[in-house]
């Protein structure tokens, strides 16, 4: 995916792919999705051992990234995870680890070892149930002595059922803040949602007068750009997962067109099919290109990091629908069957398109980033 990957990064990505193919291929993902099998708890400690959850964690807490460029390394993993529709959203754990690393108290930092090793998982509760992705969305905060009381609901929390910790965004006196809460905090409940995606599960995080001590705040209230940085990282990692899924879906469709025959020829020899495949592959390459640029900019904290992250999500979000629809069309009837993997990709992509901001939300954000 990145034209300039180092040998270390290449090895890291190849190891990831090998692990996935042997441990959790799409056939396993499907059984988990159909609730015929629960995700093996060992999956997370194994990927912890592989270092997927340690990329944003400092060395003293068992962390580190192969290239010293954690966003790029996480992007490589995300791409492989997307290709094979890996379950258990780890973007939340990675982003929570990054938040604690950048702004956590000593007490909070103690959690980093568990996060890095996959012994604890975290989810980021940012958006509200109506599709807003501002920190303030969905939750009200009132001060109570030195602490706070949180009320409201956050929507579309990825794999909340697996999380031991929640990083909750909210606004205190109009200024963005991050709170780190254990899943068993009184008043906090996870309400599972039904959904399109079968490979991730989503929930609403409901906060009923949840009392939170000041020590639960990560970073400064309104005092830094931590939330903005997390949004960029979560966005580009989601984009990278989508790019992996889009690429795999396209390859699957190209193979189909090469092998399926009609009227005595393979369908991939019909110009109308060839041209559709050319257009789809353009969307795939454009998605790769803009994702690479966005990952790089966010890694380098470049001045245009926020913009490129939003441009990437806006573009890849639309491309995901176009490629899904085009691939379904080219598969014909067989793609309409439950047994075919195609719909697992279609469902995942339509959902990832929305997670951490749908294209319309990011387009409006692009205008605001430019002061419009």
């Amino acid at each position: 995916m990145l034209p300039g990957v180092t040998a270390d990064q290449k090895l890291f990505a190849e190891t990831a792919e090998r692990f996935i193919r042997s441990t959790c291929p799409v056939s396993t993902v499907r059984r988990v999705a159909q609730r015929e099998e629960e995700l093996d708890g060992g999956y997370f400690t194994e990927i912890g051992e592989l270092g997927w959850l340690a990329l944003f964690v400092p060395e003293e807490h068992g962390g580190g990234s192969p290239s010293g460029q954690p966003v790029l390394d996480a992007g490589l993993i995300a791409e492989q995870r997307g290709r094979y529709l890996q379950p258990g959203g780890i973007v939340g754990s990675n982003v929570t680890a990054l938040a604690i690393t950048l702004g956590g108290t000593g007490e909070q930092r103690a959690l980093l070892d568990d996060l890095a090793g996959g012994k604890a998982l975290a989810a980021w509760a940012l958006g509200d149930p109506a599709g807003g992705w501002e920190a303030s969305a969905g939750v009200e905060v009132r001060r109570d002595g030195t602490g706070f009381v949180l009320s409201g609901a956050k929507g579309l929390v990825q794999d909340a059922h697996l999380a031991g910790w929640f990083l909750v965004s909210a606004a205190v006196d109009g200024r963005p803040a991050l709170f780190l809460l254990p899943a068993d905090a009184p008043g906090l409940s996870v309400e599972p949602l039904a959904g399109l995606d079968l490979t991730h599960r989503y929930a609403e995080l409901v906060l009923r007068d949840v009392a939170v001590p000041a020590s639960a705040v990560v970073g400064q209230i309104g005092g830094d750009d931590l939330g903005e940085r997390l949004l960029q990282v979560a966005t580009v990692l989601t984009v990278a997962e989508m790019v992996g899924a889009i690429g795999e879906l396209f390859v699957m469709t190209l193979e189909h067109a090469r092998n399926r025959a009609a009227f005595g020829r393979v369908i991939g020899s019909f110009q109308a099919v060839k041209h559709q495949l050319a257009d789809l592959s353009l969307a795939v390459e454009c998605s790769h290109a803009i994702a690479t640029a966005a990952l790089t900019a966010v890694q380098e904290q470049a001045p245009d990091a926020a913009e490129l992250a939003s441009v990437a999500k806006a573009f890849v979000g639309d491309a995901a629908i176009d490629v899904s629809q085009g691939c379904l069309q080219l598969h014909g009837g067989i793609g309409y069957t439950w047994e075919h993997d195609l719909h697992l990709y279609l469902r995942r992509l339509a959902t990832d398109r929305v997670v951490f901001g749908d294209p319309a939300w990011h387009r409006e954000r692009i205008c605001r980033l430019h002061g419009l």
């Binding site: 929507g155 399109l196 025959a261 109308a272 069957t337 439950w338």
Partner: protein
């Protein structure tokens, strides 16, 4: 129409009215209309048995197959009589044997009337009219979708003159409760593909027939696939001459085109609701006042009305008589290209609610379901690509695609 006939029709109308009132229940409008792509598994064995009984009652009353020949159990009357019955029976609960019931009376029955032997027709047509036999089409195959004549299910003749069937069929609506399949099989693979085909009426209870529901990507199972393992079929069950299957298929396709689902007939002109699904959704997610959402809602409404008016326009042209018989492809291609756009509009309006929802939130879950169903008409019954071929070649008069497969023996062709 002569005065006498008109009098006759009025008398018929009175008869019909009396019979309906005495024999049928009023229609229950709360019963959900069959929805394409919805879960049709609600046709339980009990429900099918009940509806067969109802059909038998209508047949015994003399109102099944009104225009069909009397010697095969029909009533031998005119289209005008049929129309009178349709008008009068509108408020009653008529037999509903689901999609396979429609296939029986609109596709398989007429095809058998046209091509079956007298003996076959005398045996089966009355049973089709009385609800005793439900028939489905066994046409599409896993390896032959757009290429309709590319079927490879084999029928081999035995020394006794009967046939042995091997192969599989797919996308059969409602086969799980049907009795017979009208099955297209290849009887001679050494001649070009259109020439070695033959139709058979296959009892679905025969040894070696396996029927499996297909689970679709939306989770429902309206369609089935069928497997044939050395299924023995009597030569008496052959429909049409050996090797002449494509002629029969063409007849069948005409009936298929005529026999659309009446629930899907174009709506009448007049006041129409504004994309009610999307307005409800936008209200639910609090975006009714958002100018971007309003544009999307109006776009969907434009799609709805344009499809409606295109169908009406093509129908009006067809009535004028001189129209190209292939114009129906426009309506199909419009649905095949615009339905996915409309489905995506739903996702755009819904944002988060379109991908995850509280179990009771039907506005949201419908959006997702529509997204999954959005391309059904882009694929089923002739893909968008096939419609574009048909429009460009048969309406616009552009050169046909070079054929690789018309003159060569089927067994020398590349197939799946």
């Amino acid at each position: 129409m002569s005065g006498q006939t008109a009098d006759g029709l009025e008398a018929y109308r009175r008869e019909v009215r009396a019979w309906l009132a005495a024999n049928l229940d009023p229609r229950d409008d709360n019963e959900p209309a069959r929805l394409r792509g919805g879960d049709a598994a609600n046709l339980s064995p009990e429900r099918v048995a009940q509806q067969r009984d109802l059909q038998r009652r209508v047949h015994e009353g003399g109102y099944a197959g009104i225009t069909w020949p009397a010697q095969f159990g029909g009533q031998g009357l005119t289209a005008a009589h049929e129309e009178v019955f349709a008008q009068e029976s509108r408020g009653y609960a008529l037999p509903d044997l689901g999609i396979a019931g429609l296939t029986t009376t609109r596709v398989c029955g007429p095809t058998i009337l046209a091509h079956g032997t007298d003996e076959f027709r005398r045996t089966h047509i009355p049973r089709m009219l009385s609800g005793e036999e439900i028939w489905v089409q066994l046409f599409s195959e896993p390896g032959a979708g757009s290429d309709l004549a590319g079927v490879s299910t084999r029928a081999t003749r035995t020394d006794a003159g009967d046939w042995v069937l091997n192969g599989s069929k797919v996308w059969t609506s409602g086969a799980y409760y049907a009795d017979y399949g009208l099955c297209l099989a290849r009887t001679d693979p050494t001649v070009p593909k259109h020439r070695g085909l033959t139709w058979f009426g296959v009892p679905l209870t025969s040894d070696g027939v396996t029927i499996r529901p297909i689970r679709e990507i939306n989770g429902s199972s309206e369609f089935c696939e069928e497997f044939f393992d050395d299924v023995v079929v009597s030569d008496a069950n052959r429909i049409g001459a050996v090797g002449d299957g494509w002629t029969v298929a063409r007849t069948m396709m005409v009936f298929e085109r005529l026999g659309g689902d009446p629930d899907e007939a174009p709506r009448h002109s007049g006041a129409r609701e504004l994309a009610p699904d999307l307005v409800a959704l936008a209200r639910r997610v609090g975006r009714l006042g958002d100018p971007v959402t309003r544009q999307l809602i109006a776009r969907a409404h434009v799609i709805d009305l344009v499809k409606e008016q295109l169908d009406a326009y093509v129908a009006a042209l067809a009535e004028s008589g001189a129209a190209n018989p292939n114009l129906g492809s426009y309506g199909k291609l419009a649905a095949g290209t615009l339905n996915p756009v409309r489905a995506s509009i739903g996702l755009e309006i819904a944002a988060a609610a379109g991908v995850a929802w509280h179990p009771q939130d039907t506005e949201a879950s419908t959006t997702a379901l529509n997204y999954l169903n959005g391309r059904i008409l882009s694929i089923a019954g002739g893909t968008n690509e096939m419609q574009r071929n048909g429009i460009s070649e048969r309406i616009l008069g552009l050169p046909r695609e070079p054929a690789h497969d018309l003159d060569r023996p089927f067994n020398e062709l590349r197939h799946n």
